[in-house]
């Protein structure tokens, strides 16, 4: 297990490796990370593009509430991660 923190709690996310279970993306569509500010949003967007990741602009769900800015990428396990800047 690899624990990741957003800077206050011990962890906000945990990456879990299991030797035998097969992961898929058929029980979760996405999770959304709200950036601290516009500069943080731009930094993540820039990093995603420099890594050659496919960037999908806008909210992933058409019915989701509008935010100031949003894009989505997929991690190495094809999980959709939505990056947003709240209004």
């Amino acid at each position: 297990m690899n624990f990741l923190s957003f800077g206050h709690y011990h962890h906000d996310m945990c990456l879990v490796l299991h030797r035998s279970l097969q992961l898929d993306n058929n029980s979760m569509l996405s999770f959304t990370l709200a950036m601290r500010d516009g500069q943080a949003f731009d930094t993540v967007l820039s990093r995603a593009k420099s890594m050659g990741l496919a960037v999908r602009e806008g909210r992933l769900l058409a019915s989701a509430k509008p935010v100031a800015r949003a894009f989505s990428i997929q991690d190495p396990d094809r999980h959709w991660i939505e990056i947003i800047l709240e209004n």
């Binding site: 709690y9 279970l21 992961l23 999770f31 601290r36 943080a40 993540v44 999980h79």
Partner: protein
Amino acid sequence: MSNSAFIPPNVLPPLLQKFAPLLKRKWFRELVLLWPTLTRRRFSNKTEDYGVFKPSLVGHFGQLAVYVQDIARSRIWYQKVAGLTHSRTSDPEPHPSKPGWTLRACYMSAKEHDECLVLLEERDPSGKMSVPSGMSFFHFALEVEGNRKEDVFAFAAQQKRDGFHLNYGPVQHNSEPPDGDGETGGNVACYLYDPDWHNVEFCGAMDTIENYRARYGDKKGSDRN
């Protein structure tokens, strides 16, 4: 409230659920880890110490969107167990990454987190509802109101009184008796499966970076036991 008939392979079998409270005993944890240790297949269940040297770019989690088989059934479960409230349910919309597929989204809110959870019904191009696999994540967590150890224990007791089954806990994710299970984070937690076998952690009192360092100093891995 019934669960889906399909049981994902990562769901803890009932027999193991009965033994799980023994993880609060160090001798039992060592026993469980004995064979993988001897065969050198052991994964550390402790994160090595890390440093947060600059502010995270991420402020907080915004939303989690999970698939369900029946929005009405799941909505009731999250209202009863988690105290979430229903914000709105959308009309069917195109799936963002599967051409021809559709989604219907039910947005649920916590008291201090608007639309934190989205329950999604997914249909293939023929209109057939998908069965969530339960294999996209280990669990997700909701913080219990009050955020203290006693709040989580009271929450767990209430769930039992209401007839909801805890698949694990309440425990504290550290090595401190009497409730520590040898895990890390310091959070007090109990776990329930929702109707689609999504494992939901209800937690509180997690260590902060500062009090975690105060607790363990420079100790790493199993030295923290």
